[in-house]
Symmetry: C2
Subunit: 218 residues, 2 copies
C-alpha cells in the first residue's frame, strides 16, 4: 500500500503530519512525500522544513492520496501540474483525501463535483464555487466516489483513523489510536466556531482572510 | 519569544509538529528547530525528513524548549551533548517541556528529580528510575519548576495549548485552538489503555517494547 502525502511551499504542517503519524503505522504501508521538486519545502512562516522525496510524476499509482492545506494551497488551485496529477491518479486510488484547504485543491481539480465536502470552517463556503456542497462536519466520506475531506488542520487525525478502519479494519485503527495516545483533552472549548467566543471567531476569520489575500497578491 | 524545538534521528513527527503548530501561532514567537547538525533528520521509519536549522550550541537562551519522543529518544538519554545543553538552558527558560518519551530525556538530564511527570503510557514506570513520580495524566505542569511533561504523541497539542494560555493568556490559546479547528472527534474510544480493548493494549505494549529493545541493541 503506497500513500502519497503531498507537500508544497507554505503548507500547514499539522495538516499532513497528523494523517502521516496515523497512516505510517498501518501495517504494510509506505508513505512517500511528493511535491514539485525533490528538496525541502517550508511551512507558512518558514519555521519548519519538510523533505520532498519524489516528484508528482514519479508516483502515478498511489493507493491513498492526502492533500493538506495552508496558505500555499491557494497557489495549487491554479497549478495545472498538480491538478493534472490529481486527475490522473484519482481513478485508481483506493481513497483520495484532503485536510483543511486541501479540499479546495481537490475541488479545483474537479474531484468534488456534485459531492458534499468540508474544509477549514473559515472558508467553507468557498467549496460552492468548485461544484461541491459545503457541509459543516469534521470528516465527510464518499465511499463510492472514494473521496474523503476533513475540516481544519487537526481534523486530519480523525480522518486518518477512519481511513485506517476502512482500509484495515477497526482493530487496526484502535491500535494506532492507542499507540499515539489519542485521547484528546483540549483545555478549552474553543475548537469550533460554534463553541468559541464570537469575538475570537471574528478575529481568526479576519486573520485567515487577510493571509489568504496576501497570498493571492504575492 | 524564542521556542527551541528539538529534532533527532528516529523521532516521532507528531510529538513535535503538534506543539509546533500551536506555538508557531503565538504572536511574537519564533520557532527554531535544533539538533546535532544542520541538515535533515528522519522519523522512525525514514518516511519523513524534517529540517534542523541550528545546532544546540547556537541556541543557548530559548524561552521555551520542547523535547519530543520516539524510538530515537533512547539514544539521547546517554547523549551528554544533549543532556548538557538541556541542563545549560533550563535555568533561564520560561518553560522546559516534553512530549511522549521526551520526558525520559528530561529525566536523564536530571530535570525531573523529585517531580511528578508523565510520558507515553507504555513506558510510564520508566520515569521512576530517573527520580520522577510517574503520573498517569495527559499533561503534568510544574509552574514553579517550569517543567511541563505531556503523555504520548498526540498529547503535545493539549500541552501546547495550555502552555500558550500560561504564556499569553486564555484568549490567545482559544484563538489558536479555533485556528487549528481542534474540536477532536476520535472515531473510536481507544486512545488510552483504560479504554482500549485489553488485547489491543497488550499488542501495542509488546510492539513498543520490541522496538525500544531493537533501538538499544542497534
Amino acid at each position: 500500500m503506497q500513500i502519497a502525502a503531498v507537500l508544497f511551499p507554505r503548507l500547514t504542517a499539522l495538516d499532513i503530519v497528523g494523517p502521516y503519524e496515523v497512516l505510517q503505522r498501518l501495517p504494510g504501508a509506505s508513505v512517500v512525500f511528493v511535491g514539485h521538486e525533490i528538496g525541502t519545502v517550508r511551512t507558512e512562516n518558514g519555521f519548519l522544513g519538510l523533505s520532498v522525496d519524489a516528484v508528482f510524476e514519479d508516483v502515478m499509482a498511489p493507493d491513498v492520496v492526502v492533500v493538506p492545506g495552508g496558505y500555499g494551497s491557494r497557489a495549487l488551485m491554479d497549478d495545472e501540474r498538480v491538478l493534472d496529477w490529481l486527475r490522473a491518479v484519482h481513478p485508481t486510488t483506493t481513497y483520495t483525501t484532503s485536510v483543511c484547504t486541501g479540499a479546495l485543491v481537490l475541488g479545483a481539480a474537479g474531484l468534488l463535483q456534485g459531492l458534499t465536502a468540508t474544509t477549514h470552517w473559515s472558508v467553507l463556503n468557498d467549496l460552492e464555487a468548485l461544484g461541491a456542497t459545503p457541509t459543516s462536519q469534521r470528516v465527510v466520506e464518499h465511499l463510492d466516489e472514494r473521496i474523503i475531506t476533513a475540516a481544519g488542520v487537526s481534523s486530519g487525525i480523525d480522518m486518518a483513523l477512519l481511513l485506517v478502519a476502512r482500509l484495515a479494519g477497526v482493530e487496526a485503527a484502535q491500535a494506532i489510536q492507542l499507540a499515539i495516545e489519542y485521547d484528546p483533552a483540549p483545555p478549552f472549548d474553543a475548537g469550533s466556531p460554534a463553541t468559541a467566543p464570537p469575538e475570537i471567531v471574528e478575529a481568526v476569520r479576519a486573520r485567515v482572510s487577510a493571509n489568504l489575500a496576501s497570498v493571492l497578491v504575492a
